[in-house]
């Protein structure tokens, strides 16, 4: 394995770690808080209903936006750190 290959492999595993982390949050806010864990959040009231309802109708969408911008920012930085960015 050349130096170049090792660098590329490290970049790719950093990307995979970032994706897995982001997708855990993605699943937690929608499938978790918004659907499956809603009964557990029933005690936390938000404007006439509960936190699970808020995540299902607003919270998950806001989190998705945050996740994509975070991912784009981190990856565009990683591109440069590993010298793999476009000219």
């Amino acid at each position: 394995m050349t130096e170049h290959d090792r660098n590329a492999a490290a970049y790719w595993s950093a990307n995979l770690r970032l994706i897995i982390g982001s997708l855990i949050v993605w699943a937690l806010v929608s499938y978790g808080f918004g659907i499956l864990l809603r009964p557990m959040l029933a005690g936390i009231s938000v404007g006439g209903t509960d936190l699970g309802f808020w995540f299902a109708q607003q919270g998950s969408i806001l989190t998705f936006i945050g996740l994509i911008f975070f991912y784009a920012w981190r990856m565009n930085k990683l591109d440069k750190e590993f010298g793999l960015h476009e000219e």
């Binding site: 997708l23 006439g48 209903t49 299902a56 109708q57 998950s60 994509i68 911008f69 960015h85």
Partner: protein, 588 residues
Amino acid sequence: MSQFAINLIFVGGSFALYIAIAIWARAGSTKEFYVAGGGVHPVMNGMATAADWMSAASFISMAGLIAAGGYANSTYLMGWTGGYVLLAMLLAPYLRKFGKFTVPEFIGDRFYSKNARFVAVACLIIASVTYVIGQMTGAGVAFSRFLEVESDTGLMIAGVIVFLYAVMGGMKGITYTQVAQYVVLIIAYTIPAVFISLQLTGNFLPPLGLFADHVESGIPLLQKLDMVVRDLGFVDYTADVTNKLNMVLFTLSLMIGTAGLPHVIIRFFTVPKVSDARWSAGWALVFIALLYLTAPAVASMARLNLLNTIYPAGPTADAIQYAERPDWIKNWEQTGLIKFDDKNADGRIQLYNDTAAFKATADARGWNGNELTVNNDILVLANPEIANLPGWVIGLIAAGGLAAALSTAAGLLLAISSAVSHDLIKGSINPQISEKGELLAARISMAVAIVVATWLGMNPPGFAAQVVALAFGIAAASIFPALMMGIFSKRVNNKGAIAGMLAGLLSTVVYIFLFLGWFFIPGTATFANTPDNWLFGISPLSFGAVGAMINFIVAFAVSSVTEAPPVRIQQLVESVRYPKGAGAATDH
């Protein structure tokens, strides 16, 4: 000025703008026709993607679905936005790096197989054509209600407008028109919502109004709505659902399907760099969220407004006299989307949930069945009238609904025509075709696609409502997994990918046909479409996610017992993973 004249000014004005863009943004090369030259700014592409994605279903139908289903239909909100996270992290940047013009082209190159490319073209065309029918019928509804023309005449006008900018400008014309259409549709959607939110909650931001107090009663809006619907025998608006497996799978199917829809993916081929593709996905979701955060507010507020109109003195008092019904009910009765049937002949409009559990209450009140049927689709379009908003807001809604339908139709038509001219003609039938010849072929296939779409809009197959399930099912079960494995696995080979796509496609289509009728022919369903008959309680609409899993499993299983892909393919996978060396989109 009459309402008709106002509507005409708004719709005519927006159409004049689209035509002006068509003349200004003509395509001179295949690169301009397929990917708008590849130099679209990421924020602008985000806006165009938002219009491309938000269809008649998002603009016209979604709030109505949420109003009718309450919390249970939050699936649409999460499902149709969560797909962008998948797109941004799993597909868009790598496909941009690959740098070609179409989705089937990537599948054909990566799985070094013309057959794989054909399967992808077939999936793309079935998914996109079924999707385009919904856009054309949505445009027909808007025309017939607001411009008092026959729906067919309206569809032909719409067809000519799309023809002008899509055939002349290709992706370049479509991109700039979609930006204009986004502006029109988002203004049209949010302005009535702001007015209604102010009326009901005193908060001018609808997403905050949704969780604020109802001005009239002083209790939270959602609590008030729960009380009103309960008095009429409906399930609480915020009630939890019991079949959570189905809710999860339905949401997942919508997310994977969104990420796998070719007309959305190709929008990311138009930005200059890989890093721009990532940013652009974020901007797309920001622009989409402006509508998607407003929609649940519109849904709950419109439902409350509707019930208040029918029961002016509250749900436990007498309903309104039919003779005294407001004008908007009369207007929509003419379209057949609101129907009244005075079952107990008391001259009043009883709207309630006619179920066995509520029968005792209904009997005690002298009710003889629900008397008003309201089509979910009219909710957004009738919203300004229900809330007594000024005439120009109604004109705006008409222009907005048409912008949503036409922008999505144009994106779908481009995906179809590029699959025909680039994947079938250039890729297979006549690889020697000149640049000029291919551009002409692209324009002709676009023209044919528009004629077919307009015809299908005029003669919608009886299954128009079900086909959206088919489009998402196919995108989720065939296209998304193939693209993802092509990027994230070096081991999946041509045989595995084809077997996986076919297994995912067939299992999903068969499961849908079992419950909704074979080829959607009425009366041919093998099982009644009821939750008791569904396998593990999974509805046919939710099966796309299962089909995707079948695709992954079959593809990996077949690949593991057959040979690894050649070294040049493994190098191709390497090259799409690293942004360095990405050029502009090319055709060779």
